[in-house]
């Protein structure tokens, strides 16, 4: 290994399991169907991203496209620990979060195809997956910018409960259900650790007991820069949390059940106590930073090493071998697994077809969604209008 390669070598090997299986785990209480759903969600993301890569190579998707392949357990395991009325916000590697939260894969793919049926009517693209009915506040393109938003979402959730004492419009709250204590999951990559806005946000959250959880999806690289080349205390990021007076945890993001078991108690604690937290979630992306990344900063061996502990393989193995029904048969049979694969391929194929066959935005949509309250003379050259209703609403 050359000196340069040695320097670039990933310094954060996956952490060992942080929660030994000593019984009493949150996941023990979950029905098998839920665990199978997690597997399904992860497989859906994997298949979806594979088809994105193809579509990108065929120039059907433009701009930047950051794929989630390898990190599936992170979104699925953390979102599983939330309620539907908990707000969520993420960065630009956002397809996984959107799908895990329940966005229609067709709307997600159509967005990338720049179609009117996309979740942002074709105006956002890959980095801007917004889904109001699923209380997903984007998809944000500027590294770290969403951390302040997440802090504000959690601030508002707490304000709702403490000051208003009545629920604001929230798709996760049905009817007149009173406002509940909420937490906001705010995802960021390890590259965002070095953005000032994260530190301002964490300071505010620590200062004011804002119930936000900053989840660092630590895949080891901010684009091509290994984490230790970009941030201090890379070996123990929880020290950063400590500085802002908040709880910090290191969680292994490769086994979705372990992840959930470590994360769920933290979410519950933040919710109950209305406090912030910080999670160094160890994960790994198999593909490049974006579609145009030659990946010279890491070795193929390293990628293979992580693929050998693939979270989907692991979960499939657990459900087909370790988790048993009462009659001692595995909760997922070979046949059921094959059926799952088939149904996911079919679902993503449908999403591709939907995206492909959807119309591009009407030319008039150029001037819509700029103002909610358009009025004359807002622009010397444009007349802003109300646009077509968002397909998700």
């Amino acid at each position: 290994m050359s000196h340069a390669a040695a320097e670039l070598k990933m310094t954060t090997a996956p952490a060992p399991r942080t929660r030994p299986n000593t019984g009493g785990r949150s996941s023990d209480a979950l029905p098998a169907a839920t665990l199978v759903q997690w597997l399904r969600d992860m497989m859906l993301i994997r298949e979806f991203e594979n088809r994105c890569a193809q579509a990108y190579q065929q120039a059907k998707i433009g701009g930047f496209c950051h794929l989630y392949t390898g990190q599936e357990a992170a979104a699925v395991g953390t979102i599983a620990a939330t309620n539907p009325d908990d707000p969520i916000v993420t960065a630009y590697r956002d397809h996984g979060h959107a799908l895990a939260r329940g966005m229609d894969p067709g709307a997600c793919m159509a967005e990338m195809f720049g179609k009117a049926t996309g979740c942002a009517k074709g105006k956002g693209g890959s980095m801007h997956m917004f889904d109001k009915p699923h209380w997903l506040f984007g998809g944000h393109g500027i590294v770290g910018a969403q951390t302040a938003l997440g802090t504000g979402l959690a601030f508002a959730a707490r304000y709702e409960w403490e000051v208003l004492k009545r629920p604001l419009a929230n798709p996760g709250v049905t009817g007149a259900t009173p406002a509940k204590k909420k937490v906001c999951l705010t995802y960021l990559g390890d590259g965002a650790l070095n953005q000032g806005v994260l530190h301002e946000s964490m300071n505010l959250a620590g200062l004011w007991d804002i119930p936000v959880i900053y989840i660092v999806e630590n895949n080891g690289y901010s684009m091509g820069t290994a984490i230790a080349r970009g941030t201090t205390m890379a070996h123990d990021l929880t020290k950063k949390a400590e500085a802002y007076g908040m709880r910090g945890e290191i969680i292994d993001g490769f086994d979705v059940i372990d992840l959930y078991d470590a994360f769920k108690p933290l979410v519950d604690w933040c919710r109950e106590n209305q406090k912030p937290a910080f999670v160094d979630l160890k994960t790994y992306r198999y593909l490049g930073h974006s579609m145009s990344d030659p990946q010279k900063y890491r070795t193929k061996d390293e990628v293979e090493q992580f693929k050998s502990k693939d979270s989907i393989d692991r979960m499939a193995h657990v459900l087909m071998n370790e988790r048993k029904n009462k009659d001692s048969t595995p909760v997922l049979s070979e046949q059921a697994f094959t059926d799952l694969q088939t149904s996911i391929k079919e679902q993503v194929r449908h999403a591709m077809e939907f995206a492909e066959n959807s119309p591009v935005p009407d030319a008039s949509e150029l001037h819509t969604d700029v103002y909610l309250n358009p009025m004359p003379n807002l622009s010397p050259t444009a007349e802003y209008r109300h646009g077509a209703k968002n397909p998700l609403l």
Partner: protein
Amino acid sequence: MTTIEHTIELPDFSKPLPPREGDRVIQFREALREAMSEEMRRDERIFLMGEEVAQYNGAYKISQGMLDEFGPKRIIDAPISENGFAGLAVGAAMYGLKPIIEFMSWSFSLVAADQILNNVPKMLYMSGGQWGCPVVFRGNDGAGGQLGSTHSWCVEGLYSNVPGMKIAIPSNPYDAKGLLKTAIRELDPVFFLESERMLGDKGHVPPEEYYIPFGQARLAREGGDCTLVSFGRPVHFCMEAAETLAQSGIECDVLDMRTIRPLDIDAVIESVKKTGRVVVVDQCWPFASVASEVCTQVMERAFDWLDHPPVRVNTEDVPTPYAKNLEAAYLPNAGRIAAAVRNAVGAK
């Protein structure tokens, strides 16, 4: 299918505005405070956040007494983290609250540029119409008084370049209250630009509730020889210049634009068609300024009515100096404005 409508109600603009003249004379800062307090009493979703707004009673005493009335959950002292709390406001607004963010100075908004220029005005578009971002950002804009280069920013030139937000810039207490109340009721983000130099200005503010619609300039003075267009503090310099010019028989229309986006260009054109001359006074630098924009639009829409090329009077195109005499020379002033008008009407 879930439908979530925006629940902020636009005010009723059909009521005629109360008279501008009267004897309920209060300071500009009090007018701002009344606007915020009235709206906060009406709607609990509104909170005020900024540096020193609560316990200190406001760095410029705009929020004096508001902590006592509304309590620390709604009048919130923020640490010096403009990017952090501006971004917090974005999230809070998307969630359904109505934040008012006070920048002690708009000069400090530059460290929050990513939030206020990338997120605030683009959220509605990026989300395909799912989420607007109805935050009011307000604070002191423009040269204060020997504050030097970094603290004397006029941000309207920079920020009005960006579509997606509305920009209001009042010149007097009456407008300050009526425009701020409208800003707070807006569905869209509003940048509200005040001036440290005017916070002590006094004027009649009617006791009854009123909302001034955006996009309607005020004709502050009438005259047929030249149109003076301005907004914010330089409106006063224009009035001073118009007074002086009147002594030599030159009469000016003085238009106080009140909002920049929307820009009531119709009022400008109407006046220019009468006077044939326009001088735009703007406390920003000249290059790509609001003044440049007004001049361009006048030429696009009223070229044939012009008897003289449109004229800009901006600050000098240099960083803001500290020395009192240099700062005075740097800013637009009545003397420079009057000279520009004399030149335009051909009266040297």
